[in-house]
Symmetry: C2
Subunit: 223 residues, 2 copies
Amino acid sequence: MEPDTRSRILDAAEKLLVQHGLDATTLRMITTGAQANLAAVNYHFGSKESLIEAVFRRRLTWLNEQRIAALDAFEAEARGAPLKPRQIVEAFFGVAIRMAADKNGGQTFMRLLGRTYTEPTDFVRTFLAEEYAEVIARFKAAFFKALPDVPQEEFLWRFHFMMGALSYAISGADALRLLGPIDDSDPDALYARLMSFLIGGLRAPLPEIQAKPAKKQRARRAA
Amino acid sequence: MEPDTRSRILDAAEKLLVQHGLDATTLRMITTGAQANLAAVNYHFGSKESLIEAVFRRRLTWLNEQRIAALDAFEAEARGAPLKPRQIVEAFFGVAIRMAADKNGGQTFMRLLGRTYTEPTDFVRTFLAEEYAEVIARFKAAFFKALPDVPQEEFLWRFHFMMGALSYAISGADALRLLGPIDDSDPDALYARLMSFLIGGLRAPLPEIQAKPAKKQRARRAA
DNA sequence: GTCTATAGGGGGATAGAC
DNA sequence: GTCTATCCCCCTATAGAC
């Protein structure tokens, strides 16, 4: 069905990684699923780690380009004025949710990605940081401009919480069933629900934080 | 330092599981860390899976008892009237955040738990479902009563999103650093930030969901 | 490019002495 | 209860034929 072995391996790996996790997925499972030989992985990718990296990069690069394109479009339209928070949320999270609804690969990939932010594996975090660097910088700038009344540190935490909600929205279907029977078959509904939740959280009244004595610096010397 | 081998194994396992993940943590690492013999795990727990289950049960049972106790206290005070959403959020998420701030074990455990909801491993999901059954039932009921204007399905999704935000708040410190340098050393500040975000999301205006043709039923026959 | 065969290491589990 | 020694399995990676 697929043209070349390389693509078949990537597709099979993507499916299996989301089902079993990074460690529990073996090269044997992957090559069997791809109807390829065991040695093909090392021939095409060099190692299991490089294969996993390729699985992520293939779609993640595209996803973040889409995010930036969406942001570009809104900014062109605004002609230098700050965007509405809703537009920025849409450009970042909306694009992700829509990719997660795409049955042609995007869906399984996004489930994989969703659970990987918190994955403890080092090499994954390393290349994720690379892949995200540009898009994070762009969106931070846009948000800071759109929300001048929200302290930047507060905003970063909210962004982080929003990523958590996105992650669960996409890949937490199993955790969701803890809560009881629920219909997760409608991507448009999920999109609408997530957007209003995120914007509600983003625009919530600011918490009162007690200023802390700066004991942070004291321990620093030891390192 | 610890009294018995069994407890030392549990402590060592907890630390290593959060560092390396479930699969990558080996019994040899655990027994070395616990200064115990390799065979001790099988003697005390029977298998690696049973050990992992014991690690979770040890603290999760207690956490959910605390949540229910907090809810009980609010409900006793309210004398049959619906609680404020803020109180219910406090009882469920506040207790978790406070446990996550406890250096004596709670902290590493909560990080482990946070990344486990989305873990693809089957046996973990099975006993998590057991452990959560009662607390979920209690909190769903309290929320439904407190938010009669929010459709139950919409609320379940919001609860799910809130769990995602909590999970990232606790265990996503690494993902957080993608966003730039940020201070996560103050648990009280984290608590305040998360609470206002969650309540903002929970109380957000309801999204407009297009009613979908009930095509869900059609596919059911095949199964 | 794709295969077979195998090296080389590490895993979980267990038998049996103490 | 705790130990040592070991079984047996499956892993990743690679050498070398085709």
